[in-house]
Structure formats: C-alpha cells, structure tokens
Amino acid sequence: MTPIIVVKNLSVQFGNFLALDDINFKCYPGEFVSIVGKSGAGKSTFLNAIAGFIPYKGQIERPRNFGYVFQNYALFPWMTVAKNIEFGLSHLDKEARRKRVEEMLHKIGMLEFAKRYPNQLSGGQVQRVALARALAPDPQVLLMDEPYGALDHHTRERMQDWLLSIWQYTTKTILFVTHYIEEAIFLSDRIIVVDQKKFVAEVKVPFTRPRDSEVRFANELLTLKHQILDFMENN
C-alpha cells in the first residue's frame, strides 16, 4: 500500500529554538495514529508542520484535502453551528450545502442546535461541531490536536467512544495528538512517542476493532501504558 502521508527529515526551528529534529514518518490510508509525549515535546508542532501552518525544513507529502480539529478556538464564535459547518463547503451549490450541513448535524446528533452560537454550547458539543466542520468537506486526512484536552474525564471518554463510532464508517486517516496515554491506546492502531524533539518509539496497539469501553479496563492496556511511559521517562 502507498502511504498517504510521508515525512522525511523534518526539522522545525523557531528562532534559536529547535522544536523538531530530523523526523521521519509514514502513515497509511485508513490508519488511526496517535502521537503522545510530554508538554513541549513537539507533538503539536509536528501536526502544524504537516498542515503547512509553520515553516519547516525537510519533505512532507500529504493530500491537499485535509481537515484539522483544534483544542481551543475550535469554532468561529461569530457563526452559528450550521454556518460553522457550512464554511468549508463553498465549492458546493446552496442546496447541496444545506443538505450536507443537515447530514453532518444529524451524524453528530445536534440537528436542533443548528442556530445556536458556540458560546451557547457545552465543551463537548463544541468539539462535536468542530469534528463535523472538519469532516463536512470530506477530507482524506484528519489532523486532531488534543481535541478533548479541555474536557472533563467523563465527557472525554464519551467523546472518544463517539469519535470511534463515527470513524468506523469512514475511511479517513487520523493523526491524533494527545498527552493522555490511555486515550491514545483506546483510539489508535499505532502510537508514536515523541520526546525531546524526536520520535523515540513506535507501538502497535493489539486490540481489535470495533472496540468497546471494556478495552479501557483491559490488563494489556495497562501493560502498554507502562511500556509507553518507560519510553518517555528513559529517553
């Protein structure tokens, strides 16, 4: 299979500060890959470089058509939920846009919230709309930067279940940045550990799909968590 994202010798420098050092990475269509690491390890910088938001050295190949979900400022506060989702659909005609927005709202179970503004929603709802907005133009790749980092434990777990249930029916490739190791294990096929500006380890997740909440209590999950923590501590 040909990889959908290829990164070769990627380095990112902010002034005198080296944020990422000589990263090589590949990712295949339909894969769910998480990137974990401590704060400041370079996880978000990696996603921002792939998206082309920041200058970098090296080579990045990715599809032109991609989506991005941020942790904060996820939505435009001056647009209603429906307008936020519609914003990425300017290539469609009016009727097609209306249909697509309705379809996405239905998918995230928020049809009745179409006319609300983001400041009238809960944190979990904002993130659901943010995912709908990113998915509406039907991107091949979805980049997610700690999308659930600001949510409470319970809401976060419900959002994870929900994300998997949506992802199962798509063929999207997801790159997911998080500092919650359990979250990475529960969601991904593969986990990359970043530390000190480098990719220090790669872990394959053994759980089959579809996954249910029970995986969160499996012994293998704890073993894997230990293993990943070791990579982070001992590097």
């Binding site: 989506g67 996820a74 435009f76 914003f87 300017s90 983001p118 400041n119 809960s122």
Partner: protein, 264 residues
C-alpha cells in the same frame, strides 16, 4: 433570617422605584436648598426654573433644531472618523509594512488632546460645519484606530489557520473571519468614541456656531441665563447617554454572539 438581598430588587416595581427614588430625592434637595436661599439661587437655580427654561427653549422649536444640529454634526464626524479608524486599524494591524510606515505618525498625533486642535482648525476651515465635523472625526479616529489595530494584530492564528484550510477565497476569509474576529475590539473603540464625539461637538460649538446645544450653552453664558445653561447641560448629557444606550442595544441585537464566551 431574611437576607438584605431579599429586601431589595424583589420585583419590577421596587426596582423601578429604587432607580427613580434617588433622582427624586436629589431634585427635591436641590429645589429646597435653592428656594430657601441656602445657596445663591441666581447661581444655582432650582430645578423648577431649569425645567421652565427648557420648556421656553422647546416652545419656539429651537430645542429640537439645536438637538438636530448637534446630533447631525456628531453623527457625520463620528461616521467619518470611525470608518477611517476601522480601515486604517485593520491595515496597520495586519500588514507589517503599513504598520511600520503609518504607526509612528499616528502614535505622535494620538496623545495630543483633540480639543487643542480646534483653534487651528478654525483658522484653516473657518467656523462652519466642515470645521466641526473635521474636529469630531479627528478625535474619534484615534480610539477606534488603536482598538481596531490591537484587535487585528492579535486575532487567534488558529481562526485564520482553520479558515485557510476550509476556504480557498481570501476575500471570504477577510469578511467572514478576520473582520468578525476584530469586531469586539472595533465595537469597544466605537463605544469609547461616543463620549469623545459629544465632548468634541460641545467644544466645537462653543468655539463658534449658530446652532447646537453647545452654542446654546455659550449664548446663555453670555446672557447670564444660568437656568438655561443647566438645562442645556442636561440635554447634552441626556443625548450622550441615549446615544450610548442605543449603540449598546444595536450591537446586542446585531451581534448576539458577542457576549462573554463560556468555552473560550
């Protein structure tokens, strides 16, 4: 035990009463103090005389004419100064080059008290409406510019990044993302400027005019009509408060999202 907060503001009528009562008390005290000649009533005319002066002013249709004249000058000056402030603020806030070339000039002019330019403006443009509108525009420009500039230069890059991914059209990004993102700062600048515009309209009118609320204060001063001066001051204050109230209502109705965010 009954808390004090239960005793006040219990219903709409008491709330209304509590707002109006201090005004009634204040006016009554003023009336009494002036009538009993505790203070010189020629210098501090009682509210009843001020009210009569206001009625007299209104009877000849002059009150309405003066209010219209002042509001008209203020609105045009406010519109010109405000629009320029918004446009220049977005340009200096978003373009490094424009910022480098324009900001030093603006920053030198900004700390200047705008009323200080009025004598010079009279020399240049005379005492007609153009001079007044110019002075008001000049004063309104700076607060609108600085607020817009700061807002435009600190738009969350995440909003602009999201917009870039989702929409290929730069024009749409400017109108649908950049300007709405700066809007709360623009509104803050515009609101500050309402009071400034009223100061300027008053000062410009006492410096030379043939109509307007400021002109009436100036004329009443010469005629030693203190009752009318006080009446005109109240009209000016009321006009300013009304403009501010209408502005706040308009913003609330037009941009309902511009309330304190719960999430970000």
């Amino acid at each position: 035990m009954i808390a004090i907060s239960d005793l006040i503001l219990t219903n709409r009528y008491t709330k209304w009463f509590q707002t109006v009562l201090p005004v009634i008390v204040f006016l009554s005290l003023w009336e009494i103090v002036s009538r009993l000649e505790i203070v010189n009533p020629r210098l501090f005319p009682p509210p009843s005389l001020v009210w009569n002066a206001l009625l007299e002013w209104a009877e000849k249709g002059e009150l309405w004419r003066d209010i219209k004249a002042s509001y008209w000058r203020m609105l045009i000056g406010y519109f010109i100064g405000g629009s320029l402030g918004i446009v220049v603020g977005i340009l200096t806030g978003r373009s490094r080059l424009i910022n480098l070339s324009l900001s030093p000039i603006i920053q030198v002019l900004r700390p200047m008290p705008p009323v200080a330019i009025i004598p010079l403006v009279i020399v240049w443009l005379g005492i007609g409406d153009i001079a007044k509108i110019f002075s008001i525009s000049f004063a309104v420009f700076f607060p609108v510019w600085i607020n817009t500039h700061l807002g435009a230069s600190s738009v969350a890059s995440i909003h602009l990044w999201s917009a870039k991914i989702l929409c290929p059209s730069k024009i749409r990004i400017i109108f649908n993302v950049l300007i709405p993102a700066v809007l709360p700062s623009i509104v803050a600048g515009l609101r500050t400027s309402i009071a400034i515009a009223f100061i300027m309209v008053y000062v410009a009118e006492i410096a030379g005019a043939s109509s307007g609320i400021g002109y009436q204060i100036s004329v009443s001063h010469l005629a030693y009509r203190i009752d009318k001066m006080v009446a005109a001051l109240f009209v000016l204050a009321f006009a300013g408060a009304l403009a501010d109230f209408l502005f706040a209502r308009l913003i609330q109705a037009t941009f309902p999202w511009m309330q304190a965010d719960r999430n970000h």
